[in-house]
Symmetry: C2
Subunit: 424 residues, 2 copies
């Protein structure tokens, strides 16, 4: 069994009959839906769990947050701009198909003599609301040696650079950064893992997986129709998150607007993705009194209501005082992260709980994989994180171990590819 | 904030009103269901996702395999038999509640001045078919120094000892073995993680987490009502698995029967749990031709039918020949694992796919966490694994990196505790 080149991998399918195959059940056949790249077939039922891939904006940002995550960062190993562009085209084509619940390249039976183009573990599963969201790291524009490998550094967005060091950062280089990122979200983890695996396979020879992270439960809602989930501190998380329905706020705080950055008009209708792997000291947290926990958070644990009173969605009153000072303490997370304390900025968070086994002390290696989409990290992330990392009472229980900042291009149009505004 | 002892942790709840708590929404309140330990409340709806904890056998074996897994192995750090028994009692009480969708100790509002008895992240979630299945490792009976810490070595089951070394084993000591194990399965991963976390917390001072493994997708069906899932080789897995409905076969191959082991009558109605963390070389697999893949497995990929013909559930015909020898090759997994080739033995497999990020080469750290329940590992696991590890063509793509064998006591009766037949 020899290796086959990616080019061959990308051309073997559609070759027709599969000599010797016993007959192809192709569960994913049931998932067909209309799209320019995915011709509708009236003979098969429509999969109602399809989130369209094409659009003005990439899916996976303001679309409702799914239950599971597989996030991956890649290093581009080729120095050829043409190969990079070819990869983005191939990723786009594969993404259109997989987000429609189809096999990565073709649902015709694979040739018996060649490796199947799809790895197969998602056959029979629905699209599961899979979204694939792509981003470009600062090192894609200028690598660690200052080299502009792909002739794009003059188009690098102003705010796209390595995030500064924050107090209490303990970043692991091997799970930070990356030239490219893919956020795969789906309601079925096997669908998300399948997508990353197949994109990684397509990238063979051009880009290699640098780090990846699975998340098992969303910590934020991005739609008003969703119940607020709980993070591993046991508290509702993301109550005040931006929702996709808040069209004006999303335009103001999430999407890069024409004119934002004269050097990078290609990023119009895109965004920035901030990723932070935040290890939680859950065993220490679990030994804190409910009072301490609620004071650190600034909300009650049971209902998620601000300590100033009311219900979950009652706006926090930062002024109202109790016998010992403000009801919402000065070092509470809710206060320090509140737009009023941050020049009115908001972000769209889309994080996930993770548990990666345990460490050698028998503590669960658990925490929050923070993902946020913002219009400009210089105004919408860095100042707040500077403040939180210095003053937030929760920081006693948090360690940031991974970090990445990526420019998220606008959505691909039918016939185009993700990032074509940058490369064409 | 000081630490509190486990005893205190176990007694603080039920203390009554929570000074200062804003009002307890207690989503898990909705999950109440009847049980001796969990009084029914007619005022709240029944949670239809409850799998009863009590019974002749432990749940989580022949009950339908759930979607997600969190498996944990613990080392007992105390040398007190009384503390070990206390732990098993506390684990039982907590398990009865959590499997009913209730908080770990009480749904009354926690005291404001003490740590909450439940870590909270599952509040609002249903029972999600949570099962908690407990096992005892050989080292519980006789530790590495040969010491019988708890006065039970004369009751050690004959077959309960460290599994032998198999060809191609590459076991990591830190993710193998353990005095105790807990298999937490649920349809919601947050419910499974919550259970292991809270059991780990209850164990503080008596036992410590040694290793743990999350699994994101079941690879076997244990009920005829379930669709056969796919493993990360892209093939349907567990087609020929024992199903809970096969009552006679289950009695024959899964449950320890009275008289099986004169030294361990306490294990009657229990079983043995074999756990193997199997890393799959999925990148190499993905470069193998469909023909090679199907020949290694012995089934077709699309439908899961044996290469001897028919449909998924057609029994493989090991004799039928093609032009180049048997249609089901001599080194295929299906042949080597078939009961006909293994003195008629069967096992009940209950494994899960896992992906734990990636290694430094950019390969996904992915595979199968194999879990099987058998009546006797000496007849039902070791001989087959010897053969598979030596002859199975699939082994070219597999590395066993973790291993554990545990005796699984019978189910607890209301008022009793898991393992009481051993300790009383």
């Amino acid at each position: 069994m020899g290796e086959i080149s990616r080019r061959r991998l990308l051309t073997v399918a559609g070759a027709g009959a599969a000599a010797g195959a016993v007959g192809f059940a192709g569960g994913r056949e049931t998932a067909r839906a209309a799209s320019e790249d995915v011709p509708a077939q009236s003979s098969v039922p429509v999969d109602h769990s399809v989130v369209p891939f094409h659009g003005r904006h990439q899916a996976g940002i303001v679309t409702p947050a799914q239950e599971r995550l597989h996030f991956a960062a890649f290093d581009v190993t080729s120095t050829s701009r043409a190969e990079l562009v070819e990869l983005l085209r191939a990723w786009t084509a594969a993404s259109v198909r997989m987000t429609h619940g189809l096999q990565v390249q073709s649902d015709t039976p694979p040739s018996y003599d060649a490796p199947p183009t799809d790895t197969g573990e998602a056959i029979g599963l629905s699209a599961s609301h899979l979204t694939l969201t792509f981003g470009f790291g600062p090192s894609l524009f200028r690598d660690a040696d200052g080299v502009d490998r792909f002739g794009i550094d003059d188009r690098r967005p102003r705010a796209l650079r390595r995030l500064p060091h924050f107090p209490a950062d303990a970043l692991q280089e091997e799970s930070s950064g990356g030239d490219l990122c893919v956020q795969a979200c789906a309601d079925d983890p096997q669908v998300a893992v399948h997508a990353i695996r197949n994109l990684s396979r397509i990238a063979f020879g051009t880009a290699a997986l640098r780090w990846s992270q699975l998340g098992f439960g969303r910590t934020s809602s991005t739609s008003a129709a969703q119940v607020t989930p709980r993070n591993l501190f046991g508290f509702k998380d993301g109550t005040a998150n931006l929702k996709g329905e808040d069209t004006d706020e999303v335009r103001e705080h999430v999407w890069v607007s024409r004119g934002d950055d004269p050097r990078a008009p290609w990023l119009t209708d895109g965004s920035y993705l901030v990723a932070r792997r935040i290890r939680m000291a859950i065993e220490r947290w679990d030994r804190a009194s409910l009072e301490e926990q609620e004071h650190k958070v600034g909300r009650d644990r049971a209902a998620g209501a601000p300590l100033s009173g009311g219900q979950e969605f009652t706006p926090p009153d930062l002024e109202i005082k109790g016998p010992d000072g403000p009801l919402i303490p000065l070092d509470s997370h809710v206060r320090l992260a509140h737009p009023k304390e941050n020049d009115g900025i908001r972000m769209l968070r889309r994080g996930y709980n993770f548990t990666d086994g345990n460490d050698e002390l028998g503590h669960l290696e658990a925490g929050l994989f923070f993902v946020a989409f913002v219009r400009d990290p210089d105004t919408h992330y860095i100042p707040m994180q500077r403040k939180l990392s210095a003053d937030d009472g929760l920081m006693e229980y948090l360690t940031h171990t991974g970090s990445g900042l990526f420019a998220v291009p606008p959505g691909a149009r039918p016939g185009g590819f993700v990032g074509d505004t940058l490369f064409t």
